[in-house]
């Protein structure tokens, strides 16, 4: 200050300041240079890295699930549809008081504890502007009730989505199957990226075996999101490719006829078009309603189905294996003819039992006292057991099983359905593998009448019968006739593979077919009761033992409990001149094939050939 006594050199102070100011200026330039250097590093050298990070920040891929293809029967009746379902959903951000809203909704529509729990769980996982379901699949009445009171519920709305529905319910359960929510196990078998956004996956039936066709291709929406994850705008969109639809060979009305024909008893009916292997009906009784499985069946209901003694979940037509019984005789007869063991003029004598040389054991005929002299035609017509005991023994197990293999006994037929069973075609090798035992000649004898370890599915019998009907062309059975592209209307046929069964003498087919005609038309035919004037049927009855009768005991239908009664079988095709349908029927514990199984087959053939379809199946009008 002015009172300063010390000497101040103003000029020197000025110079000193200028030096310092210049130093500071240089310092500033150097530090700003540092900022520039940092900018060069961030914006030019590492630019691409940060561009990627910025892109990852803002772009989100939202999968657009494709619409699942539909399933129709051969008359275009819908078997599997996508139905709009309505959920009541809440956007928490828009709701002033969630707890109160929930209580008010409870009063209005009823909110279960389960609904509440799910809502609170989802609420923790989702962002506050995302819609969260509070009540699933509400009825139209509930929707209407809510709509009237909507003004009281800001932030609550009804959301539509597609769910799967099966209008035929239990009629087509075993054919169409059902979809369900994707499980962790399913995820291992699919391309998870294609299922991003998809809710359902085929679990059984055609829904499962044609999953790839029905599902379609997922679409993608590239959206720009803000820091909260809220979509701001759509950058790019690849629309999903909807799944393609299926038209089955199966006729739902015929299927209904088959189920009705079985009545109250358990059993299966398989009807095949012998001209192409198309399955016209694949009925397994009892069935079950597939609809509850879509949204997830309650464990109680599922348990009830699982423990039901009638096993409704079990598809008897492709998973049920039964001894074919006498229905195997035409195939045996063909083998005998082919191998030259059966001169038509040569007759075997049936005394009512068969004994292997040097053995005491008597293999009994079903007819006490025997059939007397038999040729192959009579043996098939009257279902003589002794004839086929002897024939099987003469052919020997090795050649026999080779013949049976050509008709795919003990093999998968190749049907377009998952879970088909092979059954058992006994052979030396099979016995060694299964029991580590050698083959006994006595086993060959009972194979001749389709008993013993021999097991076949109704589907195998029907497909093999179709091959007899069409003269040796084995068509792999097919449920799906065509894949339909709903957008273009294009239909792609889905034929199965065909292999011909080689024969040395094609007239052998005629001999066997004639014999089968005699089963129905002959005066002593075992299925003569289904003879009719409208069309001609060729068939073969069968009875499969569930319970073996002791060597000298009598089998008495009355005294044996129903569960232990024989299964009734029948195979047939018609019309004889131009076969259009081949049928295999099994009636569990039904007794004799001619009495219980043949009339079932007759009803199915009547419906198909005479068009006497009684009523439209339930739900088909929807």
């Amino acid at each position: 200050m002015s009172g300063n006594l010390e000497f101040k050199n103003y000029q020197q102070e000025g110079r000193l300041f200028t030096h310092r100011a210049i130093t500071a200026g240089l310092f500033v330039i150097v530090l700003l240079g540092g900022i520039v250097g940092r900018m060069i590093y961030l914006q030019i050298i590492d630019h691409e890295h940060f561009t990627t990070l910025a892109q990852d920040n803002r772009v989100k891929l939202i999968p657009l699930p494709p619409t699942r293809g539909l399933i129709y029967d051969r008359q275009n009746r819908p078997l599997a549809l996508n139905r709009p379902a309505f959920n009541l959903e809440i956007v928490p951000e828009l709701v002033p008081d969630i707890e109160r809203t929930l209580e008010d909704l409870d009063v209005l529509l009823g909110i279960s504890e389960q609904d509440r729990e799910r809502f609170h769980r989802l609420r923790r996982q989702k962002r506050h502007f995302e819609s969260i379901p509070i009540k699933l699949d509400i009825t139209q009445e509930e929707a209407a009730l809510f709509a009237v009171n909507r003004h009281k519920f800001p932030g609550v709305s009804i959301k539509a989505r597609l769910t799967r529905t099966y209008p035929m319910k239990e009629i087509m359960a075993h054919v169409v199957g059902y979809v369900g929510r994707i499980s962790l196990k399913d995820l291992k078998t699919i391309d998870a990226s294609n299922y991003a956004g998809t809710t359902y996956i085929g679990k059984t039936g055609v829904e499962r075996s044609y999953e790839n066709t029905l599902h379609g291709q997922v679409g993608m929406q590239e959206v720009e999101v803000n820091a909260l994850g809220k979509a701001v705008r759509v950058l790019q969109e690849t629309p999903p490719q909807p799944g393609r639809s299926l038209r089955l060979h199966v006729d739902a009305a015929l299927q209904k006829v088959a189920l009705d024909a079985l009545g109250d008893v358990n059993g299966a009916v398989v009807a095949i078009d012998p001209r192409n292997g198309g399955i016209l009906a694949l009925a397994s009784k009892p069935g079950y309603d597939t609809n509850p499985f879509v949204e997830g069946i309650s464990s109680k209901a599922y348990k009830a189905l699982q423990t039901d003694p009638n096993k409704p979940l079990y598809n008897r037509a492709v998973q049920g294996t039964y001894p074919p019984g006498s229905t195997i005789k035409p195939f045996m007869g063909l083998a005998g003819l082919e191998l030259g063991l059966l001169d038509l003029k040569e007759k075997k004598y049936c005394p009512g039992f068969f004994q292997l040389p040097g053995h005491d054991h008597k293999y009994r005929d079903w007819k006490k006292g025997g059939h007397g002299p038999m040729d192959v035609d009579a043996a098939i017509t009257q279902s003589c057991d002794v004839f086929f005991y002897e024939l099987a023994h003469e052919i020997g197990i090795d050649k026999l099983q080779q013949y049976l293999k050509q008709f795919r006994f003990g093999e998968k037929t190749g049907i377009d359905l998952v879970g088909e069973r092979k059954g058992i075609r006994p052979s030396r090798e099979w016995k060694r593998r299964r029991y580590k035992q050698v083959w006994f000649p006595g086993e060959t004898v009972i194979i001749g009448i389709g008993q013993g370890a021999f097991q076949a599915t109704p589907l195998q019998l029907a497909a093999a019968t179709a091959a007899i009907a069409n003269g040796g062309h084995y068509h792999e059975p097919r449920l799906v006739a065509e894949v339909l592209d709903e957008t273009t209307g294009e239909a792609t046929p889905q034929p199965g593979k065909t292999h011909d069964i080689p024969v040395r003498n094609p007239s052998d087919w005629d001999k066997i077919r004639d014999a089968m005609v005699h089963v129905v038309e002959g005066p002593r035919g075992t299925a003569r009761r289904i003879k009719n004037e409208h069309y001609r049927i060729a068939g073969k009855t069968g009875t499969a033992q569930v319970f073996s009768v002791a060597q000298d005991a009598e089998y008495d239908e009355e005294t044996v409990a129903e569960k232990m009664r024989d299964h009734a079988l029948f195979i047939a095709y018609a019309p004889v001149e131009d076969p259009q349908i081949a049928v295999a029927v099994i009636v569990e514990n039904g007794g004799h094939g001619g009495a219980t199984a043949a009339p079932v087959a007759k009803k199915v053939m009547d419906a198909w050939l005479l068009g006497t379809t009684p009523t439209e199946p339930e739900g088909a009008s929807q």
């Binding site: 100011a21 500071a24 900022i35 900018m39 914006q43 630019h47 910025a54 920040n57 803000n226 909260l228």
Partner: protein, 379 residues
Amino acid sequence: MNPASRSPSGLPASEPARHRGLLARIHLDLPLLTGLLLLSCYGLVILYSASGQDLHQVEKQALRLLIAFGAMFFLAQIPPQTLRRWSPWLYGIGVSLLIAVLVMGVMGKGAQRWLDLGFMRFQPSELVKLAAPMMLAWFLSSKPLPPNWKQIMVSLVLLAIPVLLIAKQPDLGTAILVASSGLFVLFLAGISWRLIIGLGLLATAAAPAIWYLMHDYQRRRVLTFLNPESDPLGAGYHIIQSKIAIGSGGLYGKGWLNGTQSQLEFLPERHTDFIFAVLGEEFGFIGVLVLLTIFLFIILRGLYMASQAQDSYSRLLAGALVLVFFVYLFVNMGMVSGILPVVGVPLPMVSYGGTSLVTLMAGFGMLMSIHTHRKLVPK
């Protein structure tokens, strides 16, 4: 020797007063005013984008700028001699108010930085930003320069009082700014380089003690600065997102209003402390260079004006004010680009917000006053 010939800005020496233009007569400096106006306009353009195209916010900021330029104009009219006389009084008032705020804060619930005057909130630390360098310049210029040991010690104590009071609030950013303003006065007063280096070493040695004194959130900021990826969703989020914003801008930027990081709100505090990242993203390296050029021009013009001042008080005060301005922008840009820890320092004239803006412009007003009130002393 004419100092102007060595001036960093290379501008010609001032003309005699009678040849000065209209602006000089109302005590404004045309080049500095031009620089500040350019900066303000650039800032408003960026703010429009950074605020999410909120015209209301831009208008409010424009009004604040108007008030700040008013404060600048007002202070430019006050002769440096008057400022000098006020210095100790302003310092005394500033420190008293800081103590008052602190006491009220203790009685209230924790941190408090402002006084409620009824019609407005007043931050005493803003007053101290100007009062502290004024006080030191007043004290040092009364003695021959460079200052001796005793004077340096007294200066450091005078500086430490407000700095510690502000740090206690706690407001680390302002404390750093006030401390640096005082240290710049000492530097410009010509303390020896040996002492500067010695003080630097002392500061390094004192770092653990400072660490001990810091609040938890301040420590966290330092830790986050050292390794932002350690906490990508928490404290490190700011730095990571602003680096992404700047880096993805590239050479030319994504274009005005097209920055994804800023417009989609990935960038936190985008219109206040992190507005520099918006600039970097939308205008790219070129846009950053333009801003740096304007800043550099203002600083160099300011330093030139300081060197032209006619007495030590004016020189020291003017120089310190200019260098504090530099500290502002350097600390802000350093933190946003991830080379300095996150401290709450706005980008001067660009960030949205009022109080520090008025203080800054008042400082520039003083600078203009010092430059335009020079007496015509023939050399």
